[in-house]
Amino acid sequence: MGRLKLFLPLLAFAVLGAFLFRGLSLDPKALPSALIGKPLPDFSLQALTAEGLVTREDLLGEPALINVWATWCYSCRVEHPYLLDLARSGIKIIGLNYKDQADPARQWLEALGDPYAVVLSDTAGTLGLDLGVYGAPETYVLDATGDIQYRHVGVVDETVWVQNLARFFPDPERELDTTPLGSSIGEGP
């Protein structure tokens, strides 16, 4: 026992080392949504590209992405072509136009293409606040029953889709449109 005690510092070092090593591969910026597994908050917002109000119930029925975007957000322009690809392959994407103005936002969709099944005009950022949005772009996975399953902060691209998002949709092996990223700028959907 006396001799074994001499190894205690080594043991303590090994435990500490294991934690620190694990820390190396963690992303300190990763911040899971507080709403994972919880229902999408209630809202009633003006539709951007259609007439009338949209409520929570209008979004239910099939899994969908909720993509938070704005015309002031440069990264949104970067991910836009990939969203068009996703939409073309049958993924339902709901747009949340976050703290933006309606006219420039509509012009953006006319110029770059509209990947969204519906766009909510969240001018004041109220739904954004209830969702815990802290910037754009952010993308949430909404399941068919209206619960939030996942949140991705930052640009959605092929890697993010395959690694984190595809598994929430019925056919994970779904063949994506293989046109190279960016080639769809300027085309209609």
Binding site: K29, L31, A34, L131, G135
Partner: protein
Amino acid sequence: MRGLVAVVSLMLMLPLAAWGVIETYEFSDPVLEDRYHELSQELRCPKCQNQNIADSNAPISRDLRFLLHSQLEQGASDDEILGFMVARYGDFVRYRPAVDQNTVVLWYGPGIVALIGLLGLVRHLVRKKRVDQPVTAEELAQLRSRLAVSEGESGAASMSKTVHTSDRAARDNEESS
């Protein structure tokens, strides 16, 4: 004229940028203002992760400060406000998260480690003190008789007659002779 130049120069030194970043709020009650400062220090900016919302000029921090002000003016309690924020942004948003099963190690872990260290130190000191105790007359007599015996047996006259302060040293001596 010189006075005017001095005044203008001093005015140029005012931190205009800081004014532009942090907006000012009017409070109906100075107590609310104190709570505003306290809470905005404790709430963490989700965007710029090592700043609180009082220090951060990120848009989200501005929004949260606005929200904090309006909730305080509406008479919400500290717990209500923190609960509102945590429900949306998670435990992350508080620099002092509530004690629950996820944060209990965070809260009490350092104290427990310090306690273990303190106990170890106390034990070490107590033991050291026991070893350092002077030899009693009885022990001394015992040692002398042993030394005499071993010297008589081996005839090693050069053997040191230094009195060792512990039984163990005496035993080692005996073995080596």
